[in-house]
Symmetry: C2
Subunit: 298 residues, 2 copies
């Protein structure tokens, strides 16, 4: 039995903007029984993201930043597959599975407010599909081109439905000039089907620079014309965003490094199947296949 | 007889922040006899740049933009040395000597307000040292790394003193997200001497991506800590900036292309000599050696 592909992409066709087949808020729990207000849920549903104010104190953000810095030192030169370096400079670009290699980040993944907000949006128990830190150094920080996470998770990881949510925590200031995370409001309501096919072991290159699963310019123009662009803000900013919200960031020539931490919660009712690309699944540190529900007791 | 090098750079030493040996406002004419008010001159002297409001009407800007677009089409694929392409994509990055190949841009170089402002700042008659358009396409626009124009003009063109001024006209909107021209206020009061030596025929690569004459990170940090960053604004914005004001711009992943036109006026009392690199002068379309004063009668 083949699972029908509701979101065909990289199947050799043309770039196309398809409609979303899934709700943004899932289950009956939506409006009740969680930390997000009706207004916040409505805003998340409309824009595809929500900024959570005052989630962490300055001390808590400093502690997360310090842990990110120590993790970076522990892993530098380790050659571990969790570490993605820049293709040119060899500088650290991303570290994956941070909730597996760091006790503070494991605790963060079980932070009651974040976890309950994810459950409220997804209408079920959740597990951590992916976690990572993106470091963007000063002066030489490279761009992250536009993408919907879901497009990759669907094609390369076999995530069937749009029922996952990302939490981004800015560890260092994202200002308008240092390559802040940019989200396209409203873009989550469409699915930007991408042209081309996925090469084998694509992830080994794509995490440095994406060449497949890249939305077409005309589609990006269309999405930005409808929704504009929204940058992520000061240290400690927490943004919940739908798995299909189009986002990206420019390079950084300023003297201000910036780094963002990401936790991705997926519904336990949306476990990964075989990748729709027909290829082997990506490694567990990029896409977990341990669907055990997270409990919030830490 | 050797001309003493007041601004040694790329002479095999360390990166260093030297003091400026030249005034910012030249000659006695400074305060009088020109379109700029005392307050504007003081602001230029302090910050190293000045935004001129309402210099052009919307129609005039549209005409300049149209001419830039036609020039681009005329020159596309021409293989002319005035055209600099991106190293990866082959897209047009810059066109030089635009006041030589376009009648409207030749007229612009003699625009009374711009010309008189340049004369007022430089305290003498002036000629056009260089003119260009930088095109930064949507989605794939590449960065222009931090640089002082004077550093290059001194080392590679033999411009002895800091007595030149650039005029930048934004033809398409520079917003905070599409890789706007960023200036470091106050940076013109120092000279960022660069490490290394200049390779032969450096300009053939440097206009795509600069590798020599690149200020050191610690120096840029220092300058930005003192002065911050100032982005250039909406279409038609005109910015006068000192030849030694540090500037640069990020790449552009947004759907909004941006392009800026530059005219560089140099004092006729500051003609080019032999390059301080000891190498051959760069071609005339990059650094004119026709020091005939511009008259303002068009």
């Amino acid at each position: 039995m083949t699972t029908p592909d509701l979101y065909p992409s990289r199947v050799g066709g043309e770039a196309e903007l398809l409609s979303r087949k899934d709700p943004v808020l899932h289950g009956a729990a939506g409006a009740e029984g969680g930390p997000l207000s009706r207004a916040e849920l409505a805003s998340f549903e409309r824009a595809g993201f929500l900024v959570l104010e005052n989630c962490f104190s300055a001390d808590e953000v400093a502690a997360l930043r310090e842990e990110a810095s120590q993790l970076r030192e522990r892993l530098a030169g380790s050659g571990k597959p969790e570490v993605i370096t820049e293709s040119g400079s060899g500088e650290m670009r991303s570290v994956f599975a941070i909730h597996r290699s760091s006790a503070p980040f494991a605790r963060l993944a079980r932070h009651p407010h974040l976890l309950d907000a994810a459950r409220q949006i997804l209408g079920s128990a959740v597990y951590v599909h992916q976690s990572r830190i993106n470091y963007k150094p000063a002066f030489r920080g490279r761009e992250f081109y536009w993408h919907s996470d879901f497009e990759t998770w669907h094609v390369e990881d076999g995530m069937r439905r749009m029922r996952a949510v990302s939490v981004s925590v800015s560890l260092l200031e994202n200002n308008v000039h240092n390559g802040p995370l940019l989200l396209i409001p409203g873009s989550h309501r469409y699915f930007a089907s991408c042209p081309g096919l996925t090469p084998e072991r694509h992830y080994e290159r794509s995490l440095q620079q994406q060449e497949y699963g890249v939305p077409a310019p005309a589609i990006l123009e269309d999405l930005v014309r409808r929704g504009g662009l929204e940058p992520v803000g000061p240290p400690g900013s927490v943004v919940l965003f739908d798995c299909n919200t189009m986002h990206g960031s420019n390079g950084n020539i300023t003297p201000w490094p910036r780094s963002n931490l990401f936790l991705v919660y997926n519904s336990v009712e949306n476990p990964l199947g075989p990748p729709f690309s027909g290829q082997s699944p990506r490694p567990a540190h990029i896409a977990s296949r341990d669907f055990t529900p997270l409990d919030g007791d830490g």
